[in-house]
Symmetry: C2
Subunit: 377 residues, 2 copies
């Protein structure tokens, strides 16, 4: 029995803000008869992440080194854009997987993915937590470095693996990069986003004072009422970010978890205490506008001995078990909440992605493209 | 016998580049009869450092916290600008010091300094190395934190103590902040300056590949021929710093020791390898122009996991002994050179200082204002 696979591919490189017209929906027939070692997965939840935009850009030579291996070439290969997700095995050419198994790994923006040999698929035991969690907060780095190298001959695929699993990103970034101490003052930007919402909750569980910023009243309320932030504000209502932060942190900021870059990073550095730490996790406001760059005052960086550190969850695979055990436990006991924003149907992928850069999403953006027992969507 | 003390004071706040007319030479009679606990020092070598400019600015409220304790208020007190130096005790109200002792510590841009109780003076045993070294490469943090607090009631005097001793700054910044490994590629800006010239030499002694940049052919030659840099270039001859660094570091930069900030920092970050480290030591090109700020690409910082860290030698007093023993030994055995640029006479202090921001100095800038056995100058 042949099925028809609907998929999303890139029509052309993206400059600046992405739009729905950058993408194309197409169909291709699929034989659920896997070749040697292949696994055919019916996708359930697909992860929609801002970093994918960086793979869609036309890069200048200076960027080649970090993006060559993972950039998406439109037209060159009419295939789905690869992305993290959770699905159900419908046919397996691997001994360790059988039909009906729920798996997580590098799938694609499509209804069905043919997973090649060498690409890791993790079996998900979703008995006591929702399946969607395994595409969001509990996502795993299924591709270890040497396996990525096999998968793409030209080197590790940094972009693909860069920011997929928001949980490990938040956990490693907060605990290892920020090294929080009880009572410290923590500022989180894009705080209702996939990573920010988790960082704020880890910070509260660590006894820190936490303020987040977001882009709407609804999000601000959610941070304060549902996620337990000590305070929150709508950055769009602040004419002067520097004085806004001075108001919210009269005693200064010890840790800034940066998801946005640009003017907010400058304002945070200006308000930091001595020995402050900035985890540079993302720069979403710079992704769509290369000219809008953060220029923090180096006088502050020097005299206040501030550390700014970029990081990728990729380098923290050794923390995965610790992260996963602690976080699952927090989720099960209601000490943490996984904020998910789910659209339905493969056709909604382009809008879901474009919406990330308009701040449409509240929490981790997912698209549900199939039901566990039922049809593709 | 009364002497006349010539001193340099600040006429008004400095905006942008300093000029000789910002300073005033004045004289005041001095009784070499010290009060209780006071020591009268005839100054020999005075240290001339860029950070002093930051104390002379008119600060906005956002800077108050880090500079309030040490800013220089022109007119308010008609006294010499305090500065690190080496001198000879001419009268002592302290039991542990006697006439003729050579001491190093916080003195002033003047011929004689009355050192108050609570200010530390270190006895210098200058038998086998020139006395000037104790005002430059071997300068000590004579003011420990608690003593600074006593000395100025309103908190630690960060600005005063920030960057005085170039030796400990170079040593701690290179070894602790940059954590070099043998074979790594090191880039140093302002490489013929007081700190840069030492960092380059430490890097060579650690088995690194070192390239420096400076602002004249004479300095470039000196870096390559006298200080043992593997390569060096004149940044003023490079239209595109990014491609210049790509030429000098075809395999990328592992460590950037930043003394200048602005465009050079951006170019270095663009050329860094994964896990690169930037020691943010100074930002001389930003000190005179607050609008000229470095805006490194955060995409590079994130994907290449770059750390940028501001630091002050102040936090590394515990390394002083190790630094001092190792460095004195290197100097004695000719494995390191102390580059000094000495002007003569108290009248030359303003020009010496202003020249720092024109790149006039080659190595550590000192002014000799007295002879060990002879007159004040």
């Amino acid at each position: 029995m042949e099925v028809v696979n609907k998929y999303v591919s890139l029509k052309h490189h993206v400059d600046g803000h992405p739009s729905e017209s950058d993408f194309e929906l197409a169909t291709t027939p699929l034989q659920p008869a896997p070749g040697s070692g292949e696994v055919i997965v019916k996708n359930l939840f697909l992860s929609i992440d801002p970093y994918q935009l960086n793979r869609m850009k036309r890069y200048s030579s200076s960027h080649t080194a970090i993006t060559a291996a993972s950039k998406i070439e439109p037209g060159q290969a009419r295939v789905a854009i690869d992305a993290y997700g959770v699905g159900k095995v419908v046919a397996s050419g691997r001994a360790e997987l059988e039909e009906g198994d729920v798996v997580a790994g590098l799938l694609g923006w499509e209804q069905y993915t043919v997973v090649r040999p060498g690409t890791v698929l993790m079996k998900v035991d979703a008995k006591d937590l929702p399946i969607s969690y395994y595409a969001s907060v509990l996502g795993e780095y299924s591709l270890h470095l040497h396996q990525i190298k096999e998968h793409k001959k030209d080197g590790p695929n940094l972009m693909t693996t860069a920011t997929g699993p928001s949980g490990l990103t938040a956990f490693a970034g907060f605990y290892d990069v920020c090294k929080p101490k009880k009572g410290e003052k923590v500022f989180v930007s894009a705080a209702s986003g996939s990573v920010g919402s988790l960082v704020g909750q880890y910070a509260k569980l660590s006894g820190c004072y936490v303020v987040g910023c977001a882009g709407s009243k609804q999000k601000v309320d959610l941070l304060k009422r549902k996620l337990g932030f000590d305070d929150a504000f709508n950055y769009k209502e602040e004419a002067d970010l520097k004085s806004a932060l001075r108001r919210y942190f009269p005693e200064g900021i010890d840790i800034y978890f940066d998801n946005v870059g640009a003017a907010m990073l400058e304002a945070a550095v200006a308000n930091m205490n001595s020995f402050g730490r900035v985890a540079v996790c993302g720069a979403i406001s710079e992704y769509t506008n290369a000219g809008k760059r953060a220029a923090p005052d180096l006088m502050d960086v020097i005299y206040k001995r501030i550390t700014l550190r970029g990081f990728l969850a990729l380098d923290y695979l050794h923390l995965h078990e610790q992260f996963s055990a602690a976080t699952s436990d927090h989720l099960r006991h209601g000490r943490m909440i996984s904020l998910e924003d789910v659209s339905v149907g493969i056709e909604s992928v382009p809008t879901a992605f474009v919406g990330l850069f308009r701040g449409d999403n509240v929490g981790k953006k997912l698209v549900r493209v199939g039901e566990l027992e039922g049809a593709e969507l």
